[in-house]
Amino acid sequence: MKTTTLLEVSKVNIHYGTNCVLEDIDFIAPAHTITAIIGPSGCGKSTLLRSFNRTNELITKTRRTGDILLEGREINDYDPLDLRARVGMIFQKPAVLPTTIYENVAVGPRLYGTRKKSELDEIVEESLTGASLWKELKDRLHKRAEQLSGGQKQRLAIARTLALKPEIILFDEATASLDPISTQKIEDLMHRLKETTTIIIATHNMKQAARASDNTLFLMAEEGEPSRVVEFGPTELIFTNPKVEKTELYITGRFG
């Protein structure tokens, strides 16, 4: 079992305007693992996550110092568009494009110039299968995607991302608006997706982090200070035998 480091984050500070929101963030995400970023709301989980595929540049004006390396190469040296194809993202709000289920999955390959129907058919089937949607939806591929349930929409978003065969998939509070059964399905899915990709999730749901992840990164801010890493390590250790007292207090729900 090779444990190559896919994503390496070191000494990262993120500023928003003149405010520093994240300071001195260090962690690594080995290939084929699930890393959970936890912490109280407003601690910058999403901001950090979004900086991995540079989608935060699209939303707010943030500034970063320090290194984020994908396969050893600084992500700012990648073309941002190519980077986003390699580092997919699932958002909190289950959103679909106002078109068919098929087109929602095919949109990614189409962006990169895949036109042949047979090729697209194959990618759509593969991606929907990968997102555990193929059996449910294979007879409704050309129906509107808006009709799907929230959980299905979120898995469709995963299929859409899978269609580009990303190396990393970022889940930004992706189950926050779903019911427990849909959440369960997504967590099962993450587990299976580990075989082909690497996953990083931002979640405020500690049980989810405990259930689903291999490693956990716990972020928190002192009053009036930027967020820092409180603890990073294997999820089992963090949740059963944390080294820092604050971690224990937080995961046992005594604050945060």
């Binding site: 073309d79 568009l81 190519d82 962006l111 990169y112 110039g113």
Partner: protein, 282 residues
């Protein structure tokens, strides 16, 4: 390869959009420059203060300015109270019932009636049936129907833009609904209403087809609302289609400048109002 292609396409589309924006802007600039550069002699006291004479319509445009202003003011006099009243009703009283829905549909339909059809209608009802002949009043009544939807819509919008907190505060002080509307909501929405009125004035001032057969074409300055007159726009039409281009440029300049002033005024009010409103809210 495709990665390069899509970026090239992206660049090309960006260039295309800039090009479109530039073409539209350049057109308007050229349009204004073209007319003004040929008709700027309109900016002379004689032209603005004398009547045309002779078969070639030389001389000034005073009667046309009087007719246009007369007609526009008379139209506003009738249309603004009606439009604002209707706007108040739609914003403050109307619910979501079928009747209100059909009223809204009728307003939409009215705004889509071609201007020449307004002219036909005005000719039958006001000029002939009501016996007003070609007159300022017949023209103004016709134009009223034409601009009513604009005033209605804009005043309804500006009433809706007034925060509910204002109404609640007024009602909490014991004011009746009517008092609230007329003493609190109406003054707050006044800038919007003014904008609507100016837009309507611009439409009325520049309108030709609806005026041709209701206010008439007589090149005389009207005094009573029962007299007809020839507006600047009708004058421009007649000059341009009879080959008096030199005079036509000058009339076009006068018309264009006044319309642009209307536009700038409504923009200015809207911007000022927004700033004021925001600072008040904070």
């Amino acid at each position: 390869m495709t990665s390069v292609m899509r970026k090239i396409v992206d660049r090309m589309m960006f260039a295309l959009f800039i090009f479109i924006a530039a073409v539209v802007t350049a057109f308007l600039v050229y349009f204004i420059f073209y007319i003004v550069s040929r008709g700027y002699t309109a900016f002379s006291w004689t032209f603005l203060s004398t009547a045309p004479h002779g078969i070639k319509m030389e001389g000034g445009v005073l009667p046309m300015i009087v007719s246009s202003v007369y007609l526009t003011l008379l139209t506003l006099l009738i249309a603004v109270p009606l439009g604002v009243g209707g706007g108040i009703y739609l914003a403050e009283y109307a619910g979501k019932g079928r009747i209100v829905e059909s009223i809204r549909f009728a307003i939409d339909l009215l705004s889509s009636v071609p201007s020449i059809v307004f002219g036909l209608f005005g000719l039958v009802l006001f000029v002939q049936v009501m016996g007003l002949k070609y007159s300022m009043l017949a023209g103004a009544l016709t134009l009223t129907l034409m601009v009513l939807p604009i005033i209605l819509k804009i005043s309804e919008e500006s009433f809706r833009a007034v925060p509910d907190a204002y109404r609640e505060a007024s009602l909490a002080l014991g004011a009746t609904k009517e008092q609230t509307i007329f003493r609190v909501v109406l003054p707050t929405a006044i800038a919007g209403i003014l904008t609507g009125a100016i837009l309507a004035a611009g439409r009325a001032f520049g309108e030709t087809a609806a005026v041709l057969y209701t206010a008439g074409m007589a090149p005389l300055a009207p005094v009573s609302p029962l007299e007809g007159g020839r507006t600047l726009s009708v004058h421009l039409y007649l000059l341009a289609t009879t080959g008096h281009l030199e005079e036509a440029y000058r009339v076009a300049v006068v018309l264009l400048v006044i319309i642009l002033l209307f536009n700038l005024a409504s923009n200015w009010i809207m911007n000022r109002y927004r700033r004021k409103f925001v600072s008040e809210a904070i």
